[in-house]
């Protein structure tokens, strides 16, 4: 793709009418419209974020005098096995959650994109419904489903002659159980984004492929998947960020247990900040998480945009 830069005077905004700083009236109007949001962003995001960077270099505890500790909080992280365990658990959740979200979301989107499927709009709403429900409410329902003694899942297993499982009470099964619940709850969102992507692919491309003798699988692998790459990139980056930030179900269902099996990084940040009042240490953990997510997002962008015209 080539971009032609307009010469001065051809398409550039007229700066003659501006009174100061060489900006036009339109630009000033645009700035005014943006201003309220910028104020909110500054007050509730930029200032707290920068403050947390400062606090991560102190022993800030909200309630007692704050002392500068330099890199002490960051150095402490190196020896904090629970921090590493929580990071590992978060990675486990992410690696388990994202492929399932992508595959199930895409499969659902393709199924529900078919014009031949009756009631497809109803199905779309049904699959999206968990996303408009409070994650804590969902967690409470799933707690009952996973109940080792009376839960529906074990009743189903017993009905087919299989033994009951401890689910959230087992160090091996707790995280997969939460991944399963999370995929069930989040797949509707992925489906919706893929659905929008699928509807942006021209039917003519498929028709041309069909004329050339392409099978449905060939169309899928050589047309659908490549053309959905920007959508997949978006879903991947946002899902990685979201997965590393999982907190609600952990807080409501397992409190990080049993035996630290579901302690995730954001749960640790919460525990350190709001239970132990170690805000400085929690801030340092938050910055490490931010840097990790930033790195992962950049790596994703580089990998996924190779050869892509974006």
């Amino acid at each position: 793709m080539s971009i032609t830069t307009p010469a001065r005077g051809e398409g550039w905004p007229d700066r003659k009418k501006g009174k100061g700083f060489g900006i036009t009236r339109q630009e000033r109007a645009a700035a005014l419209f943006i201003l309220p949001l910028m104020v909110l962003l500054t007050v509730f995001w930029i200032v707290p974020s920068l403050s947390s960077l400062f606090f991560s270099l102190t022993n800030y505890s909200v309630v007692s005098a704050t002392r500068w500790v330099g890199s002490e909080n960051y150095l402490r992280l190196v020896d904090d096995w629970l921090f590493w365990r929580s990071l590992l658990n978060s990675a486990y959740f992410t690696v388990g959650n994202i492929p399932l979200l992508l595959v199930c979301g895409l499969a659902l989107a393709i199924t529900l994109n078919s014009a031949r499927l009756r009631l497809r709009y109803l199905y779309r709403v049904v699959f999206y419904l968990p996303l408009v429900t409070s994650s804590i409410a969902l967690s409470m329902v799933w707690l009952w489903l996973f109940d080792p003694h009376l839960g529906l899942l074990n009743l189903l297993l017993n009905a087919v002659g299989l033994p009951s499982q401890p689910w959230l009470q087992s160090t091996q099964q707790a995280m997969p159980s939460i991944i399963f619940m999370s995929v069930w709850g989040g797949v509707g969102g992925t489906m919706l984004i893929y659905l929008a992507g699928l509807q942006g692919i021209s039917e003519q491309i498929y028709e041309a492929a069909q004329v050339d003798g392409a099978t449905p699988w060939q169309s899928f692998f050589h047309i659908t998947l490549p053309l959905l790459r920007p959508v997949t990139l978006y879903v991947l980056v946002t899902s990685i960020i979201g997965s590393f930030q999982i907190f609600g179900p952990i807080y409501a269902m397992t409190q990080g247990g049993p035996a630290f099996a579901t302690t995730t990084i954001v749960h640790q940040i919460y525990i350190n900040g709001f239970r132990y009042f170690n805000m400085g240490y929690a801030a340092a953990q938050s910055w490490i998480l931010f840097l990790l997510l930033l790195g992962l997002s950049i790596a994703n962008l580089r990998l996924m945009t190779r050869g892509l015209d974006v």
């Binding site: 003694h149 009951s164 009470q169 035996a259 302690t263 009042f277």
Partner: protein, 459 residues
């Protein structure tokens, strides 16, 4: 852009700007009028001016009966007796009490009175967040303080000063189903007395289905969550003659003691209850009817639980209350169980300590406490209520009350806060699930507790 379009845009912008100014002026004008409304119409003087004041009371959510009692009776009575007073009740749960206090102290929102556990007093008093009420008690409350169980009052002492007054006793002991005892050929009037009895009785009471699932736990360990796992371990720890920190009030990290031989034996016994004797599932037991406790629903035959068990039966199956038995704390080295008061405390950022104290006095009066605890069958912290109140004539409640009276009550150490107790619980869970060796889990937990105490001392 042609001339016509340009003109149109200019016109629209001019119009919008004017409308913006008009709207802004109208909003500012209306706001100013609203703000001044109180000033322009002063009330006609009717007598000597009464100073209006407000007290913020952080109350823990309890049953609707208690909430109504506070809303309809306790608060109006205080406001009527103290002219000018307005008490704002800020409800909280145990789960978010920590966050509420954190934001209150950080934002300097007054904590004029709050309900909390006496085991919260130490860490908060250490940070100077709970006010000393020692001078009020010494100078104005000598006649009343003698009516409280002395041991229960002392649990709220930090640095030599009292920081809170009890309003309820949270007492745990072994409860059991008499009908299950009879079914198993056990005497329904003779509950287990020792650890060995517990295993023997539990084995006889246990019922499993064909697929190896627990139909009825002989004894129910509530170790599904980290907090529950800690407490189940701790009951055994103190009965075996040890504690988390010895002595109780010590803030010396070297006094962390639960990873000693007594602690190991306690954890081994807990492990054996699950794996060797198999009389309890590791996962807890649930009732089909969520209103009923596991004992009430009959899915467990014995369980260490609080006096709320009695309230649960009375509320949901009063006709069956004769099936409920209340035992005494089990004996190993010592006969001990958890008996701890919840207390009223005053935040150090209170607007007026004298008035907060007046509110606290009102809350712990005999009348208020009886009206609050009676309908839900809860254990009182005042001896006169225990002896005289009509609801305390219930023999089951009297058995609970015997625990502090006999000196069988104890609590978790002052230097260790609840999040740290939950941390120990996670290690207990790891040991019970064979993720770690028993001694290794206790040693790792002890190291964490020592570190937390050091951090608390440095804060």
């Amino acid at each position: 852009m042609d001339r016509h379009e340009s003109k149109g845009v200019g016109k629209e912008r001019k119009f919008s700007r004017r409308r913006f100014l008009q709207t802004t002026s109208a909003v500012i004008g209306a706001g100013s009028l609203a703000a001044l409304a109180g000033c322009v119409a002063p009330a006609a003087p009717t007598g000597p001016a009464v100073e209006a004041y407000e007290l913020r009371f952080i109350k823990l959510a309890m049953s609707d009966v208690i909430a109504d009692y506070f809303h309809d009776t306790v608060i109006p009575e205080f406001e009527a007796a103290n002219e000018g007073a307005t008490v704002t009740v800020d409800m909280s749960t145990w789960g978010n009490l920590g966050e509420k206090l954190l934001t209150s102290f950080a934002g300097n929102i007054p904590v004029d009175l709050l309900e909390t556990g006496s085991d919260w007093v130490g860490p908060y008093a250490k940070r100077d967040q709970f006010l000393s009420i020692e001078s009020y008690v010494v100078n104005q409350y000598q006649d009343e303080i003698v009516d409280f169980y002395p041991d229960m009052v002392e649990l709220s002492r930090y640095g030599g000063d009292l920081r809170g007054l009890p309003y309820i006793l949270d007492i745990r002991t072994l409860c059991y189903r008499k009908d299950h005892f009879e079914e198993a050929g056990l005497d329904p009037e003779v509950p287990p007395d020792t650890w060995d009895d517990l295993v023997d009785f539990g084995t006889r009471l246990l019922q499993m289905d064909d697929q190896g699932n627990f139909e009825r736990a002989g004894y129910l360990l509530n170790a599904a969550g980290p907090g529950g796992a800690f407490f189940e371990y701790w009951y055994l720890l103190v009965q075996n003659g040890s504690g988390v920190v010895i002595p109780w009030g010590s803030w010396d990290p070297e006094d962390v003691a639960f990873n000693g031989p007594e602690g190991l034996e306690a954890l081994q016994f807990m492990y054996d209850l699950i794996h060797t004797h198999a009389i309890t599932p590791m996962t807890g037991m649930s009732s089909q009817n969520p209103s009923l406790s596991p004992l009430g629903a009959g899915v467990a035959s014995m369980h260490n639980t609080g006096a709320w068990e009695i309230g649960n039966w009375k509320q949901n199956q009063a006709d069956n209350i004769h099936l409920l038995g209340v035992g005494i704390p089990l004996m190993k080295v010592r006969r001990l169980q958890y008996a701890v008061p919840n207390v009223y405390a005053i935040g150090s950022n209170t607007r007026d300590a004298d008035r907060s104290w007046a509110l606290m006095e009102h809350m712990v009066s005999r009348e208020t406490l009886t009206g609050m605890l009676g309908p839900v069958s809860q254990s009182p912290p005042r001896m006169s209520i225990a002896a005289e109140a009509e609801y305390m004539q219930d023999p089951l409640l009297k058995k609970y009350q015997a625990i502090p009276e006999e000196g069988w009550g104890t609590t978790t150490p002052q230097a260790v806060d609840f999040p740290t107790l939950e941390l120990i619980g996670q290690y207990v869970q790891a040991a019970l699930r064979d993720e770690m060796g028993l001694q290794a889990a206790l040693d790792a937990a002890a190291a964490e507790v020592q570190q937390k105490i050091i951090e608390a001392l440095e804060a």
